[in-house]
Symmetry: D2
């Protein structure tokens, strides 16, 4: 039994980790702390909610791994502190996802708080970084949108199935939990219910992350806000390389992920959000549409898009069964 802790436990991703860890056979949640400075615990909103402890990094001396569920900017300095004590860290914020501190500065409008750590941080899209994650002290957990787009897209790029130089459209739709637990205009019931919108067209912070991992900036990414709580569906329009068919695209993905416990490639039919909500799975389907091959992927943004993948990475970092607590 190993001990882990959560910093930033009162947000949606922290809560989701608490839920997942409750059934983990080999990990014990030693501490669930707020990310807010100060010595006060956060009381539960309802009696059925958990109390979250005050932030106190000294109390984490003995834990084997820490999940950082804090806002970006705050995570980096906490990570530096924890690594100095010898604790492994999975950071769910964006602080270590971009390798280039200048890209970080452009994207997040702030100097990177711990550039010295960028070199060793491993981008934890687990299915594509398993070995590196296993050796890492610091894992940058991928963003929710990038996870939903990179899982189906990377094998196609790596196997030359995408036409050179042509733009790839990634039209993504997310539930509102991605916008966080703090109330605001964007997540007010009256602004979400019976509504739908695009946002951040051409400017969303996840685009540079997608581009970095895909190795190309020709991915045109548009996020949208669904009137649901959980889930991301990405509709990806792939211009196939000459002669490449939708069947070949499907076969490529099916083969690449045949042995992966959390990625399913459909032979027919299309996945819906309900197929993956509350699971760590990514479901993918492929269909031809005129000159393009359309790839549809779904994940639960709070699980495979955040806390589930974080746990998957922690399992790998601590040498446990990768699926423990996630099946």
């Amino acid at each position: 039994m190993s001990n882990v802790a959560i910093v930033g436990a009162s947000g949606y991703t922290g809560r989701e980790l608490m839920r997942l860890l409750r059934h983990h056979p080999q990990l014990r949640l030693a501490s669930a702390m707020t990310a807010r400075p100060g010595s006060q615990p956060e009381p539960p909103a309802l009696p059925c909610d958990p109390t979250v402890e005050a932030l106190d990094l000294d109390r984490l001396a003995d834990v084997d791994g820490v999940f950082l569920c804090t806002p970006h900017g705050a995570a980096a300095s906490i990570a530096a502190d924890l690594l100095a004590r010898g604790t492994r860290v999975v950071d769910l914020s964006a602080d270590f996802r971009l390798r280039d501190p200048q890209a970080y500065a452009r994207t997040y409008a702030a100097e990177h708080p711990a550039p010295a750590l960028l070199g060793e941080a491993v981008y934890g899209l687990t299915e594509h970084a398993r070995d590196a994650v296993a050796k890492a002290r610091l894992c940058a957990n991928p963003g929710c949108y990038p996870t939903s787009i990179l899982l189906p897209l990377l094998p196609l790029l790596q196997n030359g199935l995408v036409a050179d130089g042509q733009p790839i459209v990634a039209d993504s739709k997310s539930g509102t939990s991605g916008a966080g637990k703090a109330p605001g205009e964007r997540t007010h019931f009256g602004n979400v219910h019976e509504n739908f919108c695009a946002y951040g067209v051409g400017t969303h912070r996840h685009a540079p992350e997608i581009w970095q991992q895909a190795g190309t900036e020709r991915i045109v990414f548009t996020p949208h806000l669904l009137p649901t709580f959980r889930g991301i569906l990405s509709t990806i329009y792939v211009p196939p390389a000459t002669g490449v068919t939708a069947d070949q695209v499907r076969d490529c993905l099916a083969e690449r992920y045949a042995a992966e416990p959390f990625v399913s490639v459909y032979q027919k039919g299309l996945p819906e959000l309900r197929c993956v909500q509350m699971t760590n799975e990514c479901h993918v389907a492929v269909a031809p549409s005129g000159p393009y091959v359309v790839v549809v992927s779904v994940i639960d943004n709070l699980v495979k898009g955040a806390s589930g993948q974080a746990l998957q990475n922690m399992n790998v970092m601590l040498g446990l069964d990768e699926t423990a607590g996630l099946s």
Copy 2:
């Protein structure tokens, strides 16, 4: 005061027309009939719902115009009957949208029931067919998805702002009222609520309609089902012609629609479904995104995407103020 009637009044588009006509200053709803054969009226589901009369075309001898809100296939023969009596018809079904009876047969898996009328039917995207609609006896009311895509796209194609030969992605998301009032798996609450899906990828019946009106098949159209009742948002990825900027695209649309009462082009910000629900308006915004120009359009699928545009067309056909009953 002119008299109009509705055939197929118990579905969502028929109901919406009844709602709109209640406040129309120059049209009187003489009759609201079911589309179901037989001599029985349809009783209201709730005391607050309207009773719909039995189908009886003989009773429509004196009306000036009829709205057909029947399923496709059924509309064509009713239209033929009504036209023979000298009544103007706006058909909200798909029966007269495709000019080519072979395209109809391929798309709707049935012989066209009245091919002799295809030649005179006018495709009623009002802003682009006003003069022809004014002279028409038979108006084919556009599909909901095509309306949301063609309004922003046609001016760009007509003005040479789109790169030749490159695919255009139209990723559309619709509320469930588009799937009709009859219960089914697709619209069961448990399958829609907290869910989202793509459907008809590469095969949806509205694609040939879009291609016909745009004059090109390189539009890659994917519909999705939102957990809302009303509204369509289309995210359109336009490959600009060499040197064309997002600002030029926006200016083109703003200029084209400056005098149109029902189309608004935003100078900044993005439209959401709530901007247009319960209105006959189409709101459009333009933003650059890497190599593409992204155009976002929203309409209410039951109003501008169906009954509102049908009323707009009827106003034009009867020589009334085009906006009567719609502002």
Copy 3:
């Protein structure tokens, strides 16, 4: 044509009034002002939203009537100012609903800001106060829950159909627009969607208002928060006086409201929220249930429960057709 203005136009009730006034044949909206002190207009959240002017009571010198859509506490002093200028006021806040300043102090935890005006304020449940409203300078627009409960209950109490001294349960369920446009924990999408709760059990501020108007404190009122935007449904459990049947209760209500344009009593079937949303109507049904007679009423909380009834009252105060702008 008379001129009216709104103070507090950026909240949900102010917005709703703007929507209703757009189609009013005899009233012109001269001004829509924010309730926030300061000299700044409120910019629209989206391009499709209206701009709301800065607060400036001096600019209201010529209007015939003002709707106050401000928070309670703020309304009373503005009302005093406006009345001094000779302007009629319909106050949608709670400031003038309780006749007793001590009851106000207990309920709203503050001294009443203008107790001198309490004597002349008329409680505007229009169907039960038409004559007094017509003569009033200051109308206290009823709360949403009280409207949904008092309309069906008052005739039963007045006609002796309720058993003496026995408690009456009023179990009410409201959409979230009743909680206002400002974001907060209570209205965060993640706390409302796929959720439901009771609140303010035994302590809600609308209970004293219901008791005052019903003339008895034996009404046990519990509000609940629905995952909808609009609507209130109240389930009222009436202990009938000896020998009184559900049919007699229904007949009493049907007779009392036979001539009322906005109240419908069902002979059979039960009303649902969708029967009255976007209308100024109250629909009522009656059914026996063991020892009790159950009365179910529905209204749109933003229309008959707020802005619609306010406009109905303003129509009466200005001597216009009571239904103008509301049908």
Copy 4:
């Protein structure tokens, strides 16, 4: 490891049992059959859905227990067959809930299909029937509404805290999953979303079940349909016996359920649906409201109100840890 099977696995309660059994440490799901006669398995609606086997009772010879998730009427004869083979049965339908075959006939408008078994069937409100369930061959799993009402109410009746002879109001609100997986008018998205209604006022089939178990018919029960998928909240208005306070009511419940793993009594605050969704728990709060004591209870209708309690009962019948698979 014991073997269990589900008959009627394609409905919501069957599906929920499949979900719960996936993590049960001591039960293996040997077979998941459709309830439909015929020799055909039911194909999955989506690739992510399970295939359900054809109905074949002969294949259940070796299982230790069977869950019947069939419609009422169909369950009784299957139960008779299975009991004759020596298999324990938990019936989630209504067939064995009413002890009196005449009450069954009145309530379900059909002769009881297996009256000889009524004598031995145990009503499985587990917390109140643990010993009898342990010895039973046939367990009648309680209805969802009765579970939400009886858990908080029974201890109050048993301890004399309720005023003699006075009506008790139980105003219940349920998510739509209670209406089942088959599409229909009642559960069409357009009739549920942004809507709310009461139904079955004074006539719902769960009332006789509540009355039987409470030992009194003075409970006035009204069900309502929420625009959510899961959950029931019941607001219960208890007339207290002379001198009994809300604190005493709360203490009574807290004491009665102190050792129960699935019932929580709040010392302060009110439970919401989200507190219990996806759990087998019932949360209860108590507050005074004028002459009454208001008790609010929440359960997940598909778990504690159906499949979870069924599994709890099966655990008890098979001598396993009662909480296995449910925590």
